[in-house]
């Protein structure tokens, strides 16, 4: 497979509003045809970054290179980038067809071509029966598809999606996640999606960037970020993580109760420094049958049955917060536990991640 081509290069981009720095020197490469997610808590700068890509904000510093050309100062109507707004921003006085045609009319294309391209995209997004309706006569899911069709019909080099599934209910959201991914594959357009929902980006993105306070914390595949978070914040923000606070030692972390959690200590951490050891709930074994580097006894505080698995809250002397442990339904059946039981937990040193506190 050939080296993936960089489509968009964000190069040391900063943006401040008065004294507030919204985006602080972010550099990112987004590749041709990838599904890229910008993830972070609200106020992390992801929406500002997206608005700079769309052309609604101009960076105070840095370059935005699309196909090698700096578009940082190009107005929104002059760049081959389209944005799907969080509010969808459908034109209320126009029918679905008129909304979708609008962007092509702006390109002054022949009427016949506009018609055939609009027909094609309405078919792809399953909107043909609604072509003559006004936006207010559509359901949330339909509006979302119109917004998508209106942006896609322009065949942009880059499609930006601002919290595209935020307004939908949970069940529809799950279906639309897969639908968006299928569509992206079908049309072959690079998608950049902004979301605060880490699960959403894990499911959809080929690669993702985690932002906080206007800075880029980590940019990688969902798998790499989940398994090897760059710092404590990312570890906590993505998925669920158990933390054991303590002090760094040569081969692990010494917890406040004196217990030693074995794991690989990053070179940047000097012995004695404040550190935190962490392990994912699904990496912890209940009553381990094999030898594990880390082992602790605790008391079951609460159980939550999720169908596919069982989640246990186990109080241990390692940390003030109870450990979250995920046990498969299968394992739970083999050795049932109930609230108040003493249980033994074990996990490998390879599953431990250690960060500076």
């Amino acid at each position: 497979m050939s080296e993936p081509r960089t489509l968009l290069a964000i190069d040391h981009v900063s943006k401040n509003f008065g004294r507030v720095t919204a985006v602080d020197g972010i550099s990112l490469d987004i590749r041709e045809n990838e599904f890229f997610a910008l993830l972070g808590p609200s106020g992390c700068g992801k929406t500002t970054l997206l608005r700079m890509l769309a052309g609604f904000e101009t960076p105070n510093d840095g370059r935005i290179l699309l196909d090698g050309r700096d578009i940082a100062k190009t107005p929104p109507n002059k760049r081959p980038v389209n944005l799907m707004f969080q509010s969808y921003a459908l034109f209320p006085h126009m029918s679905v067809r008129a909304n979708v045609s609008y962007g092509l009319e702006m390109e002054r294309l022949p009427a016949a071509e506009i018609r055939s391209r609009v027909d094609a995209i309405l078919a792809t997004t399953e909107l043909v029966p609604f072509a003559d309706r006004k936006p207010e006569q559509l359901s949330g899911g339909q509006k979302q598809r119109v917004a998508l069709a209106r942006a896609l019909v322009k065949r942009p080099r880059l499609l930006l999606l601002d919290e595209p599934l935020g307004a939908l209910d949970k069940k529809l959201r799950g279906a639309m996640q897969l639908e968006l991914k299928r569509l992206q594959h079908e049309v072959g357009i690079t998608f950049v999606i902004v979301t605060h929902d880490q699960e959403e980006s894990l499911v959809m993105a080929d690669r993702m960037a985690v932002l906080k306070d206007g800075r880029l914390l980590q940019c990688d595949t969902p798998h790499a970020i989940y398994e090897h978070p760059a710092d404590r914040f990312v570890a906590d923000f993505i998925g669920v993580m158990n933390f054991v606070p303590g002090q760094a030692a040569a081969d692990g972390v010494v917890a406040t109760n004196g217990a030693r959690i074995s794991g690989k200590v990053p070179a940047t951490l000097s012995p004695g420094a404040s550190a935190v050891a962490s392990v994912r709930p699904e990496r912890i074994r209940l009553f381990p049958s094999v030898e594990t580097a880390n082992r602790i006894t605790g008391t079951v505080d609460a159980l939550a049955y999720h169908g596919l698995d069982l989640q246990l809250h186990v109080r241990t002397p390692l940390s003030p917060k109870p450990f979250l442990v995920r046990v498969t339904a299968d394992a739970a059946d083999r050795r049932p536990v109930s609230s108040g039981d003493q249980v033994e937990l074990g996990w490998d040193a390879a599953d431990v991640r250690i960060f500076a506190e």
Partner: protein
């Protein structure tokens, strides 16, 4: 509901009915009213002399409306584009003239437009030495007075839909490749037309029947229907003809208001009509 209807009957329907009744009688020889039925008064309304005054009034009111809408919409647009916390302040200033008396506001224009008024003095200050321009007692002065007096209505009527407009709609239009001008023409303007229509009807209806402004700023030389009605009642002492003229004026106003109501109804009904089955 009932008290409101009673008020409406006492203060609106009864006086109008009285005036309407007057129009069907003859004028007495020495003024006053001769109680014999006639349709002559209405016939006289269509006399070219008086019909011409109607047309002239409509033209002046129409011009004032057009100017007020252009200025008012631009002002409302600027206010709605200002930072949120400043908007109430600007609106307050826009409506401020309403707090003074209509007559005083109109007299202020006399001070401005007089031969040796403020505008002439300002021109002199800039070194103008020729004849002072004649501005007062012209049709232009009447139109300026009408525009000035009714502009706040237009600003308020246009501000409402402009401030409610989702700014992302304009952004979406730009994003889809439209210039700022096209965005205004195809997205902002169509969505704020109801405000423009409401403001325009207001100015037109109030202007066409106005008699104070033409009397003071037009110097009586540019008669509008309002002046004519005034004259019939208070100078010519021909109450029946004055009543017929007043009824014709009311008919024109009702026509304009009905047309606007129908248009507004169709604009909002257009969407709901096809409604029905929104699922799917």
């Amino acid at each position: 509901m009932a008290p409101a209807l009673a008020w409406l009957a006492a203060l609106m329907v009864v006086p109008c009915a009285l005036v309407l009744a007057l129009a069907f009688f003859r004028r007495g020889i020495y003024g006053g009213i001769e109680y014999t039925f006639t349709l002559e008064n209405f016939g006289l309304v269509f006399d070219p002399l008086y019909a011409g005054i109607f047309l002239n009034s409509a033209r002046i009111a129409g011009t004032a409306t057009l100017i007020a809408v252009v200025i008012g919409y631009a002002a409302a647009y600027a206010i709605s584009a200002a930072p949120r916390r400043w908007q109430p302040v600007f609106l307050f200033f826009a409506v401020l003239p309403f707090w003074s008396n209509y007559l005083i506001r109109t007299y202020a224009w006399i001070v401005l437009l007089n031969r040796e008024g403020l505008i002439t003095q300002l021109l002199r200050w800039f070194g103008y030495t020729g004849e002072p321009p004649s501005m007062l007692y012209t049709e232009g002065a009447v139109i300026a007075g009408l525009v000035y007096n009714y502009l706040p209505f237009v600003i308020l009527a246009c501000y409402a839909p402009l401030s409610r407009l989702n700014p992302e709609l304009a952004e979406a239009s730009r994003d889809l490749g439209a210039s700022a001008a096209t965005t205004f023409r195809r997205v902002v303007l169509p969505l704020t037309v109801p405000g423009i229509a409401a403001g325009a009807v207001f100015v037109f209806v109030l202007s066409i029947g106005n008699f104070v402004t033409p009397a003071l700023l037009g110097g009586g030389r540019f008669q509008m229907i309002g002046n004519l009605v005034y004259d019939q009642f208070l100078t010519a002492n021909d109450w029946p003809f004055g009543a017929a003229l007043a009824m014709a004026l009311i008919a024109i106003m009702l026509l304009v208001l009905t047309a606007q109501a129908l248009a507004a109804n169709r604009a909002s009904g257009h969407v709901t009509q096809a409604g029905g089955n929104t699922d799917g």
